[in-house]
Amino acid sequence: MTSAILECAVFLLLVIGLAWPLGAYMARVYTGQSKWADRIFGPIERLIYKVCGVQAGAQMNWKQYAGAVLVFNLLGLIVVHVLQRVQLWLPLNPAGLGNVPPEVSWNTAVSFASNTNWQAYGGETTLSHLTQMLALTTQNFVSAATGMAVLVALIRGLTGRLTTDLGNFWVDLTRTTLHILLPLSFILALLLVSQGVVQTFLASVTVPLLEPTTGADGKSIVEQVIALGPAASQVAIKQLGTNGGGFFNVNSAHPFENPNAFANLLEVVSIILIPAALCFTFGRMVGAQKQGVALLVAMLLIFVPLLALTVASENQANPALTALGVDGTMGNWEGKELRFGPTSSAIWAVTTTAASNGSVNAMHDSFMPLGGLGPMWLMQLGEIIFGGTGSGLYGMLVYAFIAVFVAGLMVGRTPEYLGKKIEAFEMKMASLVILLPSAAVLIGTAIACSIPAGTGPLGNPGAHGFSEILYAFSSGSNNNGSAFGGLTVNGMFYTTAIGICMLIGRYWVIVPVLALAGSLAKKKTVPPGAGTLPTHTPLFIALVAGTIILVGALTFIPALALGPIVEHLALR
């Protein structure tokens, strides 16, 4: 137990220690004060604007900004879809993989555009290197950058006064990619390669088996084909950009994606590095660092207990296995890599679901019921506890608006956040942000468990099967992308339904958030006084965390009761 606590502590300290300078750097990038970085990337940046005809100084209002986001994402979606449909006839397909079926291809396109990276495909067995690099890796960068751009627009809405200007999406997108994501990925990829993550254009190597065996058809098997590819570069951005779509099908459980404990630590820290750092960026951009710290602490207030729950659950023996005579003193090892074990797997599971990453280094399906509940609930909270790059913090801010609204009324004043009055329009948009992803989860799950196409692909019956469906829709609707496992999701029903959920969870949140930004920017800023509700005190932090937990609990307790909770109670 001590080592588990120590490991969690090292992990959290590393995240916060790295997030602080990164947050400061990102604030400089977004306010145009990153002098030396501008000297390096400036020329490329200007070239991009010139080629694309972007007027870097032109300001957008919220509708223009939202329009640019949607058009850009739609184009990305189409490119990814088309590339998969024609990959057989394109170069860099050494394994000669066929064109992807339309339902899987559409699902994958939505998945990568929306920063979900839900995998209805099997990486090395479905997609060519060209598709992986040109379609997926590109989307890994720009979908992450989209989220961050929208966040920056919201921050400008909060800091702006009587204006309609929210910045320029094309500039935010370019600067995020060029100044932040590319250099970080470059560093991480190099570090990962040093640990043995593969980076090559070879499709595979064929090695003779040490112990030849016979296949199902009776033929003897004497050699193994081991898939290779440019993994390190994609793994780096899939972790950093809260993407999670693995190069290999088993994601970061694969030894070529995640070879050892150090690589594992690097990767798990990378998952929440940017979301955590953005809290500091936010604090700097609004001119009050304590405001950013407050939101980070609110996130930790939910993250740490759930981390503790999952780590503790996974370090326990599974009574069902103990009954079969398995020694459970080392914890629950089912579905975990030997090089990681329960604690590292549990930390990863909680982190990847808290942030909307979704990469896995163990099979969540095999977690203890409560160990699986933590990750599932983190997604259902709306992917705001760290959450996606940008998307996590803007979701968090929406919750802060709601908390401030109720709290503000309780102190007898029209509620304000950072001097901006939170009024009817803001509540309307905030309600949409909270309502739509939850509605997608619940309605999707309800349909899936009522029709054969939904229950057919289940790997397990009963309450656990229900958990699998609930997890799948929670993951898709909140743009996480992790899979519980046990559920086959490349059929027509799931590819379509989860595809729709991913679209709702991403864009029906982005548009209201940008509308919020536009509405806030137009308002006056009320100067703070003793009658102003402070939004950085422990009390307020607790209130934000409490609001998130209460809304999340009230929405999902009935469903969770019929899934993981009943499983947990039955297992005791």
């Binding site: 007898g412 004043r413 949409l432 349909i447 809304v551 009230l554």
Partner: protein, 699 residues
Amino acid sequence: MPATAHSHSRQEISARPLFEAKIVNRALVQALLAFNPRRLLKNPVMFVVAVGSAFTTALWIHALVTGKGDASPGFILAVSLWLWFTVYFANFAEAMAEGRGKAQADTLRAARKDVMAKKLASADRHAKSEQIVSAQLRKGDFVLVEAGELLPADGEIVQGVASVDESAITGESAPVIRESGGDRSAVTGGTRVLSDWIVVRVTANPGETFLDRMIAMVEGAKRQKTPNEIALDILLAGLTIVFLLATATLLPFSQYAVNATHLGQPVSLTVLVALLVCLIPTTIGGLLAAIGIAGMDRMIQANVIATSGRAVEAAGDVDVLLLDKTGTITLGNRQATLFVPAPGVAEKELAELAMLSSLADETPEGRSIVLLAEQKFQLKALDPATLGATIVPFTAQTRMSGLDIQGREVRKGATDSVAKFVTERGGTIPAGVREAVDQIARQGATPLVVVEGARVLGVVCLKDIVKGGIRERFAEMRRIGIRTVMITGDNPLTAAAIAAEAGVDDFLAEATPEAKLAMIREWQAKGHLVAMTGDGTNDAPALAQADVAVAMNSGTQAAKEAGNMVDLDSNPTKLLSIVEIGKQMLMTRGSLTTFSIANDIAKYFAIIPAAFAATYPVLGTLNVMRLHSPTTAILSAVIFNALIIVALIPLALRGVAYRPAPASVLLRRNLLVYGLGGVIAPFPGIKAIDLLLTAMGVS
């Protein structure tokens, strides 16, 4: 009187008991009439409850007719009845709040009756007049009103002066003086002229008079939702949809569970509706309208008429108060507080001569000098006429006043004019006196030098008297984050001294209407919300610009029209109470919302195990309250949910307790009481109802 106005208004608030039998009875009936779908539609939360009630009623009939319904008919009926009660209780809360206003309106309506009016052909008492019914009067008509007559309409006095009994609208029995010109020229229809006569120009058409507007306001006829209420409504509607989804999807979920386990039955529709109603924020949904009406009502009890609920709400947001010095911060006039004798002069001698010089001075300042001398040295004020003195009145040229008595020239006046008087008679002002004069001026007070011929006796200090308790009120305001700014026509020196004494945060000296307006705009540009009081016509632009503008009822028609509130007591200090009432209304909404949502946790623990225990017996572990059976558990939750509305009606009408404190302190307190309290309270409540139901034989 004004100094105690605050407690006075508090007494007014508690004057009408919360539950008056007449109002309760009327509300009980009104609540039944409010089952009108169009009315229910205005409140999305209660509308959902009403639809749920109708649906379960239909299920009950279905169960009776077919014999194999959704659940046992008795259970469905019980749930359905309690859901109807929930709607009824919410209606009752609103009717109660409205009833209190209606009772007030009835009193007002009694004052508004048609009377015969003497319509004049022109604005002259002696012009040709005709008798017409007051309802036929139009804006711009002139009427003559004489002693004993009721004013037929709102208007402005153009000629004459009269004492008027305004008790019909203010409840204040002492008559007030109303005269043409100046800031006391407005009269209100329905009040009575007690003496003399006035010619009034009618300023409102019938149906648009002040009394009409007041009646409409207190009856809530024109009540529109306030901005915060709309925002809260949206949040509540959002939550209602979330819970609608959470409960509706339980049907397929439980169907799946039953298919998987082959145990129990899918959850019944009755239970789902019960769960839905328990979860949606019915407590705040049912009380929201009542809270808003009660807020307006508290204003009315404080004798303030707000033209809209929006204004009441804005009062809670105000963070800058512009307060007129005179009447609000200080008592009306300067008063003598000190005699400073010249070197070698006894204080008593100075007092005697100061008194002599003021015997004929009928200004408040002059009277206060006489009073001070009487109090301090037991001197007796004599009638100047019996002394055979010649009165020397104050003139703009001499800027002195006094008496000539038996060859003695006793004068008092401003330093420079007195200096001239003394020099002409060969004297000088001693250095000690000059020092005293400077010192008094530095303190913001007014020095009056007293002389007899060439002899300088000393200085009388005239001071503005700051109202008792006002300093503490301002400290209170500062604690809750409200800045107070004193507006005065005094010079900056005087203003600074009084500002320091009264403890205001800032002051505007030598204020002109333009300067006032500019100051409000400046504050507003910085994002502040500004409140002010005013009574004069020249206040109208500033009143129109301020976010909360309280016009004095004694003020001009222009001021009243520019403001968004009218204080019937014409007490500018009441601005402070108005802010409190506004804050209290918002706090009540916020606190009950928190309470309502926090309640849901306990309800889950009651209903979820009850609904699914048959399918997954292990979920019985969640029945932490150990409720008797699924039936009693669900009924207890529904009954608790309905009764809590009734239990909270007094709180909704009275408002949550308000104590001036910084926002963080208020939040901590209300979060503890209504947040934590809201989580805990339902557990014993539901358990108690469950025990009662079990005892009654429900199983």
